[in-house]
């Protein structure tokens, strides 16, 4: 299942504005056509920094965290495991 970290409200997003596209540090968000809202092109490369939402002049952007981040089931001990040699 693809996780969509950045959700843009099409009803609020302003035509021609490219702030989220330009300010995204990871080249994740693309405004491909001026009369259509930006596209989250590489959702699995998102840092979850929130710069796009912070700078959106009309508050059209929400950051949505997936279950893997909100209710993470990984045990910390598994990150510390040594392999069999």
């Amino acid at each position: 299942m693809t996780v969509i970290p950045v959700v843009i409200d099409e009803n609020i997003c302003v035509e021609k504005c490219t702030i989220c596209d330009v300010f995204c540090p990871g080249d994740i968000i693309y405004r491909l056509e001026k009369d259509k809202p930006p596209v989250v092109m590489y959702p699995d490369e998102c840092w979850y920094c929130g710069a796009c939402a912070l700078h959106c002049p009309v508050d059209a952007i929400s950051i949505i965290f997936p279950p893997e981040m909100l209710d993470c089931q990984t045990t910390v001990a598994s990150l510390l495991e040594k392999p069999e040699l």
Binding site: D21, G26, A53, F65, E68, L70, D71, T74, A77, L80
Partner: protein, 591 residues
Amino acid sequence: MTETRSRKAAAGSIQVVEADIAIVGGGVAGCLAAVGAAEIGAKVAILEKGGIIERSGSIAAGVDHYIAVLDEGEEWDKPGYLLRHVPVVTQGVTDLPAAARLIYGLPGMVKRLEDMGVDFHDPDKPGIPYYRHRAFGLPGEYYINFDGRHFKHSIGRAARKTGAKVFERVMVSEVLMDNGRPKGVVAFNIRTGAVFFVLAPTVILAAGDANRIGENASGFPFDSWHIPYNTGDGHGMALRVGAQLANMEFTDSTVSPKGYSTQGLNAFVGAGAHFINVNGERFMFKYDPKGERASRAALVNGVVGETLAGRGPIYCDCTHLSEEEAQHLVRTLGVDRPALPDYFAQKKINLSKEPFEVTVGEIATVRAGALFRGSGVHVDADAASSVPGIYAAGDCSSMNAAVAGAAVMGHVAGQSAARFAQNQPRPEALSKDEIERIHEDMVRPLHQEEGITFRQFEDEVRHIVTHYIGYRREEKYLQEGLHRLQLLREREKEMIAENYHGLMRVNEARNIRAVAEALATSAIERKETRASAAHFRVDFPDTDDENGRRIIMVEQGAEGKLRVSSRQTGLQVDVLPEVPPEILAQEEEAV
């Protein structure tokens, strides 16, 4: 691990530009390098893979603290005083002349940044000139607290105003060499594929730290403490042109809510949060007399130690804070990471009612476990690398101290490179054949029909770094990890890219592997434990001050293998040294 894809590799335009200096990276160090170089009249090109230099780099979204020496009257507020403490702060592992250059540059840099429009005043404390506080084990109140949400905007604009030619969304792929000297860089636009050759006799590497090298709890590789788009590009390029990297055995990590690798640890600790284990015990005092106020590396060490002892999960406990204090804390977290308040809201957790589980973050090469020491391109007091004509500054260099360090040493690098360029012959023009050959090499991943993705390649690196190197290191695992990283080098050429954005990721993956190999090589060489979790050897658990006060360096030898060497620093850690007179003389002149 093989797959077939259809790729569109539209032939982009090719442009050749001439400059005195090519700056790789338009973050704090790169922008200040441009300013320093312009003061000497050099012609500069800045190449930045992010969208716009006013909003790119590690602190694009803001910063709230800045290290300063202001000489406002207190004894600790003089550069010489701070410099004398550097050997203690760095456990005797640093280059003192380079640290001196940085520290003596701090007072002037505050003024310079203010002239660019940075406002260092704390909006919450209007009555005092600067709100200063003590942190991170420094021997005085060196930290200025301020509202730096527009910091990068100011210095990006200052760099642009110098008239430097700015290339944005443009990633440098390689430094071009001619007879052991740089002749420029080759780069491409990550969306259009337009190719740029910048011919220049000097190159400044200012590409930041190296993230995405370790696994984390969420399993999302781009979920990282520091910016995941900083991938050791400067480190990788430096190695490929024969420059030395230093201190690569020291790694960084943090303690984060489990599932979200993020800034914010300082805010929690500063607000008085406790760390407790599964038995509800406040365990940090077992690891460090300062408890939760210990260094970040010590906190990481505590969480790792408790987990390995079977006393996990570990929780961050704010239940002794009032509801109001807890709410204030969550709001301030947004300065460090804008989306962090959203995270806690969506997690539906009331900090004043229940503890939340934490984890150690992924391993990263952010700083070398201390200020005034970096894991990166080895530089001297002039920010010069071991290769004439190549300079480095900021988090990809061996002399850094967060934003202030990047600013001062970036400026130094710009001035040094500009002076060097004045006496250099212009690089010879590239022939049509050379341009074609370099271009073809650069875009090869776009034309391969079959291969592995950057993500598959990187997953291998992260697995090796996390489990064979790790937070607890041991010779046999390090050796096996190094061996696996060397084998992985052979698979670099199998990586495929769908488009120019993907080509950027393939380049990043190569640099991530190079950083990991330098890390493994250096970690094998340091047979002691130093700087807590920054380099913890279970087979050498003690700090060996007799032999350990040395700088370990790696460089790429024949057939791409890394060679390791080291140099004793001669720095005492139990007594405060006098500042050597030659440093004082040189610095007084500079001030």
